[in-house]
């Protein structure tokens, strides 16, 4: 594919890495990539190995299954115990461990749990099975939320009465604020989410520069994108600047998608508080269905009760999510907790820092290939 070579040309990659080293000099900077897609790409392409020692990537809380607390997993899966229920979920969700097993394990024990690609598939399943109750276990950040919103608007328009959503939609900015406010680790600058930002617009991250005085650069997922964004963050840091920049403007606009915003506002309201794995209860960090959509709210229809379930006592998912520990520093990493037998959700998804580290940490850096 001739078109794309420029984004992963080893010569270009080496040049940008050298420029980062030249600009940074002896300084040390900790740069958080917020999005799980970036985490995956950083490991896959061995980008950490290309950077000077003083530049450290901190893997942020941007993988939606990774930050879903175990209590919410249990609460959602408990709905599937009702024999009328068909519980539907994205593939990423199927192996996330709850206290009583994952969705796949519930399925093996007889629950009707099905993997779907789109919330529209769940709605279609409800229409095909009017005698059953179809529940969609909704997860995801601002990229995914409009899809659930449009599906619910469609369900209401069609008058479907056997379709509900167990809503776990969460918001990126409050998670960034939580990390910055926690004081656990000092983050010097941010690489902002890529595709999430096609929905939110890059301006959603302006607060990082304006309120926290930290550079933030929205980035694509190619090796050259991520290194270029890193260079832009480093240049700002060395110059003492704190600006929002958009390295990924071939995809990401400045302003939010108006149709997505309208659909989300029609269906969802911000919850007062929501639990995040590793970050605890965060105010105004998640969305729930508006009262007008109560008939489509699985929490109302199935009268779920908030479940709080602590993580495995030795698992250190929270410390890894906040950037306090690197994945291999967790006592369970690679021994008790592996991609085959994940104890924490960070080991499940390829966007989780632990799974990515496990799979790719030994891969030679791209520039060396």
């Amino acid at each position: 594919m001739k078109y794309v070579d420029e984004y992963r040309d080893p010569k270009v990659i080496r040049e940008i890495a050298a420029e980062i080293a030249r600009v940074a000099g002896e300084r040390t900077f900790r740069i958080m990539e917020v999005c799980g897609g970036h985490t995956h790409a950083i490991y896959r392409f061995g980008l950490e190995g290309l950077l000077p020692k003083g530049i450290d990537f901190i893997h942020g809380p941007g993988c939606p299954v990774c930050v879903l607390p175990m209590g919410r997993v249990d609460e959602g899966l408990a709905i599937a115990a009702d024999p009328r229920v068909i519980l539907t979920a994205f593939g990423d969700m199927m192996r996330v461990p709850g206290k009583h097993g994952s969705a796949l394990e519930h399925k093996a024990r007889g629950a009707d749990v099905r993997m779907i690609y789109s919330p529209l598939d769940a709605l279609a399943l409800a229409q095909k099975n009017p005698e059953r109750e179809v529940v969609f276990f909704a997860i995801g950040f601002e990229t995914t939320t409009p899809s659930t919103a449009l599906t619910l608007l469609r369900a209401r328009e069609l008058g479907v009465t056997n379709f509900t959503v167990f809503c776990n939609h969460i918001l990126v900015p409050p998670a960034i604020r939580a990390v910055l406010d926690s004081g656990d680790v000092t983050i010097d600058g941010f690489i902002g989410p890529g595709h999430v930002s096609t929905v939110t617009g890059a301006n959603a991250y302006r607060f990082i520069a304006e309120e926290y005085r930290k550079p933030v650069v929205v980035s694509g997922f190619e090796p050259v994108d991520i290194l270029q964004a890193t260079l832009m963050v480093v240049r700002q840091l060395v110059a003492g600047e704190a600006k929002l920049e958009n390295e990924y403007n071939r995809f990401v606009p400045a302003e939010p998608n108006p149709a997505a915003t309208a659909a989300m506002n029609a269906v969802f309201a911000v919850r007062e508080t929501f639990e995040w794995r590793g970050l605890g209860m965060l105010p105004k960090s998640a969305l729930g269905l508006r009262p007008e959509f109560a008939a489509f709210d699985a929490e109302v229809k199935f009268a779920t009760r908030g479940v709080i379930a602590p993580d495995h006592s030795e698992a250190q998912c929270g410390e890894v999510l906040r950037g306090v520990l690197k994945p291999p520093q967790c006592v369970l990493f690679g021994t008790q907790c592996t991609p085959e037998h994940p104890i924490g959700a960070l080991m499940v998804s390829s966007e989780g820092a632990c799974a990515a580290h496990f799979q790719y940490a030994l891969t030679p850096a791209l520039a060396g290939t």
Partner: protein, 85 residues
Amino acid sequence: MCLALPAKIVAFPENESGIAVVDVLSVERRVNVDLLRNETLAIGDWVLLHVGFAMAKVSETDAREQLELLAMLGEVGEARDQLVS
């Protein structure tokens, strides 16, 4: 799941607004295009797809770039499994 799939529009079903048929990783699927209601969409256009919804109209070059990236990240097989699930 943050990474979108490039898809090429192959048809618009009659009498259905907001729906397009696309070729995505060699799988033909109906997808929702409501988020792109301010764009002009035509057969042959490329869009970025996320959980069955088109999020952005992109050039063919950008679409092919994204396809290559997914292949390099080893996500094509899994994504295709989910599309046909």
